[in-house]
Symmetry: C2
Subunit: 186 residues, 2 copies
DNA sequence: GTCTATATCGCGATAGAC
DNA sequence: GTCTATCGCGATATAGAC
């Protein structure tokens, strides 16, 4: 058996995803996940703090994308358009991970405990974005509002995209921003 | 000891709030809460599905306020201004429950498990609002975006209000909407 | 109301990896 | 040899079944 932590971690992720899809989140025990991954239950908890977290590795990648995207926008750009540009930058990555995202969303949507975790992750992301905007020189007040609103728009666009996957995500994003501009500007 | 369910429930709430404040959420067991409330642990779980929910009774009241407020706005009013008016209607109630809200926010902010629950509650509220807007005749798409954005603005205003409690909440709300209008409209 | 499953975590020992 | 991941065992508390 390979001793490298990475492999064990990857096998645990894979095993968890399969089992959760097969039997539903609630019907699966951490012991079963560990068994399928070929490690002990104790090892599971060394890699992941609880039964849920194993599903949110993709979310960690997302935080990386957001950070990079915002860093790629010149500091002179004001918070609102800066975040707007950052969103355009991460849209292609989001579009690529569409399949995996859908599969995950299906499990999460049906399980209250997972929806809680997902909601918290999103809140953390918004807080992260607000912090990054403040680092760029934005007032805390404005940074908070911009992060909250624009991330909300992106999340909304992703939802409408899932409902109409034929259209590119970027189109949905543009449409959502235009709609909001018309509503909030008046 | 009164056997009426309501009283027991209220004592459980009180006991939980005290114990969580005294020792922190993690250091308190449901058995201790039940003991202080003078009931058995089993009774705790009859009233609340888990260790966290006992803290979110206020949130339930909030959903009631929101529903009533939206119902009080004539159906002819378009989604965005309707929600805007509904927010103005619930601001006084929010302002009254300011103290309790602050005490609760302090516990929640320091405990990841509670922040998860709070984030999920907020997401549920947004979904509820979107549903109500759809019932009023709004397209699902627009309803989702309006609920998300305007509730976000309100949440933002509550945050800035907590940071500057001298100013009335309504002032913070108006300011936040004006700020968003300037940002998103351009 | 009792009983039990199971998620979570602490600790000392062991065994691959470098 | 020194890490560091894993193992094996045990303890506790939440949550749900009967």
């Amino acid at each position: 058996m390979p001793r490298s932590g990475k492999e064990a971690r990857a096998r645990l992720e894979q095993a968890a995803l399969e089992l959760y899809l097969e039997h539903g989140f609630d019907a699966v025990t951490t012991a079963e996940i560990a068994a399928r991954a070929g490690v002990t239950e104790r090892t599971y908890f060394r890699h992941f703090p609880d039964k849920r977290e194993v599903l949110f590795e993709g979310e960690r990648r997302l935080t990386g994308w957001v950070t990079e995207a915002l860093a790629a926008v010149p500091d002179e750009v004001a918070p609102w358009p800066a975040m707007r540009r950052a969103i355009d930058l991460i849209v292609p990555s989001l579009e690529e991970s569409g399949r995996a995202g859908n599969r995950l969303a299906a499990i999460v949507a049906t399980t209250p405990a997972l929806r809680e975790r997902a909601a918290a992750k999103e809140a953390n992301l918004v807080a992260l974005v607000a912090g990054l905007l403040v680092e760029r020189g934005a007032p805390a007040d404005e940074a908070d509002l911009v992060a909250l609103t624009e991330w909300g728009v992106l999340a909304h666009a992703i939802r409408t995209w899932r409902a109409a996957p034929g259209t590119p995500l970027q189109r949905h994003v543009d449409r959502a921003f235009a709609l909001l501009g018309g509503l909030a500007g008046a």
